[in-house]
């Protein structure tokens, strides 16, 4: 009895210990970032050095916001997702269907490796593969790096979801005379939609805050830009820039709060959708 109680208490204690830093981070970002969140914070690009100096001199709050970063992040995430979804699903479907084949095992191993590769290395590789041939930093290069980082997550979620579907579903499709590709497309993938969608959302939330893959690829840009072949900004890049500029450090918190809220929303909605689909 006493032992049980002791066990329970120590588990509670440990759980609290792990939750405390998490809550502390959330609290800190919320408290410091809350003031900065205003309409213009989302609609205006980062202020120029001149404007910032002016504001500081007159004691006004720092003008401008992170609109250039938000636009860049959305453009790059959009392009990365559009490419990563079909590639990842194709690869995941291949792995789920051919788990004994040695080429599939090799691909599966590569997927694990890719998932474990530090993002800065992916950034450098993308620099060599995309930035150098294109002779410049660009949104395309940034989204290529993000795409590479998203792939393993989408591949795995597709594979796992397909594997837990009842075999009878696939057999029923094949028993009607369908070929493997059609059964995959019309029966298995639709049935796995919930799991794959959740995987995509998680992949997005995983890369949205990544700074390193964008440093050598997207570079950054101080104004709102929609061109995909030019350097472009991103919210995590802005945070890094703000940190390096003593005049702009106050903006860090608003940008961080934005990222945190975005990731939180993605995670919660993916949980909700997963639950809804599993019913």
């Amino acid at each position: 009895m006493v032992k049980d109680k002791l066990m329970l208490w120590s588990i509670c204690l440990l759980a609290t210990l792990t939750v405390v830093p998490l809550l502390a981070i959330l609290g800190e970002v919320l408290l410091r970032g809350y003031d900065q969140l205003s309409w213009t914070f989302f609609t205006e690009p980062t202020p120029t050095a001149y404007k910032t100096m002016e504001a500081i001199k007159t004691g006004e709050p720092i003008p401008g916001g992170i609109a250039n970063g938000i636009v860049g992040t959305m453009i790059m995430l959009g392009m990365a997702t559009v490419v990563a979804i079909p590639l990842g699903i194709l690869c995941g479907a291949f792995l789920a269907e051919n788990n004994k084949n040695s080429f599939a095992q090799f691909v599966s191993y590569l997927t694990d490796l890719l998932q474990g590769t530090p993002s800065v290395i992916i950034s450098i590789i993308t620099y060599i593969w995309v930035v150098v041939p294109m002779k410049g930093y660009s949104a395309i290069a940034g989204s290529a790096a993000l795409c590479i980082m998203m792939l393993p997550l989408i591949i795995r979620s597709t594979e796992e979801t397909l594997k837990i579907l009842p075999a009878s579903l696939k057999e029923a499709g094949l028993a009607l005379g369908g070929n493997k590709a059609r059964v995959m497309l019309k029966v298995q993938l639709p049935a796995a939609f919930g799991g794959i969608f959740t995987g995509v959302l998680l992949a997005i939330s995983r890369v949205i805050g990544e700074t390193a893959p964008l440093m050598f690829t997207a570079l950054g840009c101080s104004f709102i830009r929609f061109a995909v072949d030019k350097p472009i900004s991103a919210v995590p890049l802005l945070i890094w820039e703000f940190f390096n500029d003593p005049n702009l450090q106050e903006l860090i918190w608003g940008a961080s709060l934005f990222l945190l809220l975005f990731v939180l929303t993605l995670n919660l909605s993916s949980k909700y959708l997963a639950k809804k689909w599993n019913q």
Partner: protein, 255 residues
């Protein structure tokens, strides 16, 4: 003697899952057209294995070996394209499994979609109506054709699966314990349906339920440890089984 039209012939058919053992051993039998043949036997005796050999389901798993011959209208199935075979031989599984993401309407037509066959709007409507009527489901679902098939009751789902198989106009319908997951009333409906359907299609049905075999089948197979022990008229088999093992099973001593 009246002449019979053989549609399916097993000739020394063997199936093995592993190198050492055979799950189905040298089965030879001739199935008559437009009949219902029941496959009986204790569980694990190879009934499902034999049935799945007919529509080449075993081809999906490279380790499984099928030997001997299975003739469909005189042509050896084992050397035909699986896709062609499966279009002509429908299958209904033990657990009713309508495609969960498709509407009732699309479930009936799924065979066409999966074969890449396009139908006009009228053809679609006609096929759906014809098939759902032939499984006596039309009146119950005609107003909810766009709803998911998974909302139906178990018995309705199983009838939908039969309709889905019938839509492809198969020569043969394979059924693996199609009523074992259903309640007695749903079971009775399906049995009546099968008696009706044998006019258009030859039915091979695995069943655990001896009463069911007696009620619907004209021929019965009794399998034991992978062998076809006895095959003949259902009435004769129940009244006067020749093999000792059949007698024991039918009187409830084994299985």
């Amino acid at each position: 003697m009246e002449s019979i039209t053989p549609i399916l012939e097993f000739k020394k058919t063997c199936v093995s899952y592993t190198k050492q053992t055979m799950a189905v051993k040298y089965v030879s039998a001739t199935i008559e057209k437009n009949t219902i043949t029941a496959i009986m036997g204790p569980s694990g005796c190879g009934k499902s294995t034999l049935l799945r050999a007919v529509n080449l389901m075993h081809n999906l798993y490279p380790n499984i070996r099928v030997d001997g011959e299975i003739l469909l209208n005189g042509e050896n199935i084992l050397s035909m394209e699986p896709i062609d075979v499966r279009r002509r031989i429908g299958m209904v599984f033990q657990r009713p499994a309508p495609f969960p993401t498709m509407s009732i309407f699309d479930n009936v037509l799924s065979g066409y979609a999966l074969n890449g066959i396009r139908l006009s709007k009228e053809e679609k409507m006609q096929t759906v109506e014809r098939c759902l009527k032939s499984v006596a489901l039309w009146n119950e679902v005609k107003d909810v054709l766009n709803k998911k098939g998974t909302f139906l009751s178990g018995g309705q789902q199983q009838r939908l699966c039969i309709a889905r198989a019938l839509a492809m106009k198969p020569d043969i319908l394979l059924m693996d314990e199609p009523t074992s997951a259903l309640d007695p009333i749903a079971t009775k409906h399906i049995e009546e349906l099968l008696l009706e359907l044998q006019k258009e299609v030859t039915i091979l049905i695995v069943t655990h339920n001896m009463g069911q075999a007696k009620r619907i089948s004209s021929k019965s197979m009794f399998m034991y440890l992978g062998e076809l022990v006895e095959y003949g008229d259902t009435a004769t088999m129940f009244s006067n089984p020749t093999d000792e093992r059949t007698k024991e099973y039918l009187t409830g001593k084994v299985g």
